[in-house]
C-alpha cells in the first residue's frame, strides 16, 4: 500500500493535563484492514490517545486526519459538531472498557443494537429488528434475549452486546479501550475468539488499547508501545514482542512491569 491510502493519519498529537501527564509528539498512520495495538503501563497515555482519536478529548496540538467514505481527508478536530456526531454514529465506533458506559441500560438489547441504524434514518421496524437479531447471533447472544435489558446480562454478554451495537452500522474505524478488561479469564478467552473472528471476517480497521500483551499478540498486526505519554517503540507485533528494541519494552514483555 502507498502512504496516501491511509485511513487515519496522526501528526504531532499532544495533550497536557497540567500535571505532567498526557500525550506528546504522537504521529502514526493506520491503513484499512489493519489492527493497531497500543500497549503500555497504566498512566502511559494510551487511553488518552484513544480518547483523542475518538473526539472525547480535544488536543492541545497536532492533527488527526481521517479519510471519509467519500475519499476526502478531513481533520477530525476541524469538523463541525454536527458532522462529528454524524461520523460518531456511522463511520466511527468506540467500544468502552466498561460496557455500562457504552450501552443504554434502560433500553432492550434490540433497541441498543438498533439505535445507530435509527439515528441514521432507519424507519422500518422489521428490518431494524432483523438486523438486531442478526447481530445478536454474530456475537453469540440468544435471539430470545432480544427484548431483555442489558442489566439482566452477565459482564461478558454486556461486552458482546456493546460490540454488536457498535458494529451494526458497519463502521470504517473501530476504537476499543481494553475490551477484555474486567472480565474473568474464561470469559476473556471467548470474547477474544469472537473479536478475532469478527476482525477477520469483516476486515475491520481497529485501534485497540490494552495492557494485556496476550490480547495484543492475538489481535494486533502492529503495536505501538507508550511510556510517559510518548510512543517509544512501534513495529509489527511479533517483532516488538519477540525482539523488543527498547529496554522499557523488554521489561514490559518479560512481565517485570505490571502493565
Amino acid at each position: 500500500m502507498t502512504r496516501d491510502d491511509a485511513l487515519l493519519s496522526v501528526r504531532d498529537l499532544a495533550l497536557d493535563y497540567g500535571n505532567g501527564r498526557g500525550v506528546r509528539d504522537v504521529s502514526f498512520r493506520l491503513w484499512p484492514g489493519e489492527v493497531l495495538g497500543i500497549v503500555g503501563e497504566s498512566g502511559s497515555g494510551k487511553t488518552t490517545l484513544l480518547k483523542l482519536l475518538g473526539g472525547q478529548l480535544a488536543p492541545d496540538a497536532g492533527t488527526i486526519h481521517y479519510r471519509m467514505a467519500g475519499g476526502d481527508m478531513v481533520d477530525l478536530n476541524d469538523l463541525s459538531e454536527a458532522r462529528r456526531r454524524h461520523l460518531g454514529r456511522t463511520e466511527l465506533a468506540f467500544v468502552h472498557q466498561n460496557p455500562r458506559d457504552g450501552l443504554r441500560l434502560a433500553v432492550t438489547a434490540g433497541g441498543n443494537v438498533g439505535e445507530r441504524l435509527m439515528a441514521d434514518g432507519a424507519r422500518h421496524y422489521g428490518r431494524i429488528r432483523a438486523a438486531a437479531l442478526d447481530w445478536l447471533e454474530r456475537v453469540e447472544i440468544e435471539a430470545g434475549r432480544v427484548d431483555d435489558r442489558p442489566t439482566t446480562f452477565s459482564g461478558g454478554m454486556q461486552q458482546r452486546l456493546q460490540i454488536a451495537r457498535n458494529l451494526v452500522s458497519g463502521p470504517r474505524l473501530v476504537l476499543m479501550d481494553e475490551p477484555t478488561g474486567g472480565l474473568d479469564v474464561s470469559v476473556q478467552a471467548r470474547l477474544l475468539d469472537l473479536l478475532r473472528g469478527l476482525v477477520a471476517d469483516l476486515g475491520l480497521t481497529v485501534v485497540i488499547v490494552t495492557h494485556d500483551l496476550g490480547v495484543a499478540r492475538l489481535l494486533a498486526h502492529r503495536l505501538m508501545v507508550m511510556q510517559g505519554g510518548r510512543v517509544i517503540e512501534s513495529g509489527l507485533t511479533d517483532q516488538v514482542l519477540d525482539d523488543p528494541r527498547e529496554p522499557y519494552t523488554q521489561l514490559l514483555v518479560s512481565s517485570v512491569l505490571a502493565a
Binding site: 459538531e81 454536527a82 456526531r85 454524524h86 454514529r89 443504554r104 433500553v107 432492550t108 434490540g110 433497541g111 438498533g114 439505535e115 445507530r116 435509527m118 439515528a119 441514521d120 424507519r123 422500518h124 421496524y125 422489521g126 431494524i128 429488528r129 432480544v146 427484548d147
Partner: protein
C-alpha cells in the same frame, strides 16, 4: 382579582406584547422550533395556561372573538377562569361556538369543527420539549434539535413495539414539523394529531413556566412519528356519543354508577351541542 383599572388592554403592557410577538414571528418563520421568550409572571398560576394566556394576550385585538376550552369543554373551571380574565382585562367578545371564534385558546384538545384561515388556535403547553423525558438537560436537547439528532426518540418508539406490540403513547405524541423539527403537540390525545397537519389556521404554542413559544404556520405538513411497518394510527372506543350519536369524535367516559356503568359523550361540548340542536330541528 377585583377591578382592573390601571391595567393595560389584555393585561400585558405593550412592550411585553411586542417582545412576545417578535418571538411568535420567529416561531412562525422556523416551524416547530422552540423560541425562548421572557415569560412574564402572570396573575394565574404557572402550569395553568400562563404561556397560552401570554400568547393570546399578544395576538388579541379589540375586534376579536375569543373561545377558551379545556379538555374540549368551554365550561370546565379553568376555561371559565381564563375566558373571564380576558373578558375583564380586554373586554373582547367571547363565544363557545368554534365557528364564531377568531382566537381559540385550548388545553389538551383540538376542536372537532374544522378550523379556517381566519382563526388562530393557541395551545397551552406544560413541557414543550419532546425529548425531555429522554434527556433532562436543556443544553443537550437544544444541541439534539440543532443537529436533527432524533435517534433516541425512535429508539423509544422501537422499545414500545418490542415490548408492548404497539407504540404506547396515547397523548403528547411527538410529531415532526415541516420535515425538520421534532415537536410536542402539547398533551392533546393522539386522536387529534392528524388535525395539526395542513391546518388552514395558524397554530401557536405557549409554555409560560418553561418560557418557550413555537408555532405551526397554516398549511404546514406535520407527521406523527412512526415506523414504515407500524404506521401511526388512532384509537376510538368504537361507540357513538350517547348524546349526539357522533361516531367519529373524541369521547369522554362518564362513570354513571359504582357497578361498572358508564357512557361515552363528546369531549368537544360545542360540537356535541351543535349536533344535538340540529337533530332537534330535524325532529
Amino acid at each position: 382579582m377585583s377591578g382592573t383599572e390601571g391595567y393595560n388592554f389584555a393585561y400585558l403592557d405593550e412592550q411585553t406584547k411586542r417582545m412576545i410577538r417578535r418571538a411568535i414571528l420567529k416561531a412562525v418563520a422556523v416551524p416547530g422550533y422552540q423560541v425562548p421568550f421572557a415569560s412574564r409572571e402572570m396573575p394565574l398560576p404557572y402550569g395553568w395556561g400562563t404561556g397560552g394566556i401570554q400568547v393570546t394576550a399578544s395576538v388579541l385585538g379589540a375586534d376579536d372573538t375569543l373561545k377558551v376550552i379545556d379538555q374540549g369543554a368551554d365550561d370546565t373551571t379553568n376555561a371559565v377562569s381564563i375566558r373571564r380574565f380576558f373578558a375583564r382585562t380586554a373586554g373582547v367578545a367571547t363565544t363557545t361556538r368554534t365557528a364564531e371564534a377568531t382566537v381559540i385558546q385550548t388545553r389538551h384538545r383540538v376542536p372537532e369543527t374544522p378550523l379556517t384561515g381566519d382563526q388562530i388556535l393557541v395551545y397551552q403547553v406544560p413541557i414543550p420539549e419532546p425529548l425531555r423525558w429522554l434527556e433532562p438537560r436543556e443544553a443537550e436537547t437544544r444541541a439534539l434539535h440543532a443537529l436533527g439528532d432524533y435517534g433516541v426518540m425512535q429508539v423509544e418508539l422501537y422499545e414500545d413495539i418490542a415490548i408492548h406490540g404497539k407504540i404506547k403513547r396515547s397523548y403528547d405524541y411527538p410529531v415532526e414539523v415541516a420535515d425538520r423539527y421534532m415537536m410536542s403537540p402539547s398533551p392533546i390525545p393522539k386522536f387529534d394529531n392528524p388535525k395539526l397537519s395542513d391546518c388552514p389556521a395558524l397554530q401557536l404554542f405557549g409554555a409560560g413556566r418553561e418560557k418557550r413559544i413555537y408555532a405551526i404556520p397554516p398549511h404546514t405538513p406535520v407527521r406523527s412519528l412512526d415506523f414504515e411497518d407500524h404506521p401511526f394510527d388512532i384509537d376510538h372506543p368504537g361507540t357513538p356519543c350517547a348524546l349526539c350519536g357522533d361516531t367519529e369524535s373524541f369521547l369522554d367516559e362518564i362513570v354513571t354508577d359504582d357497578k361498572g356503568g358508564r357512557m361515552f359523550v363528546c369531549s368537544d361540548t360545542d360540537h356535541c351541542a351543535e349536533r344535538q340542536a340540529e337533530a332537534g330541528h330535524d325532529a
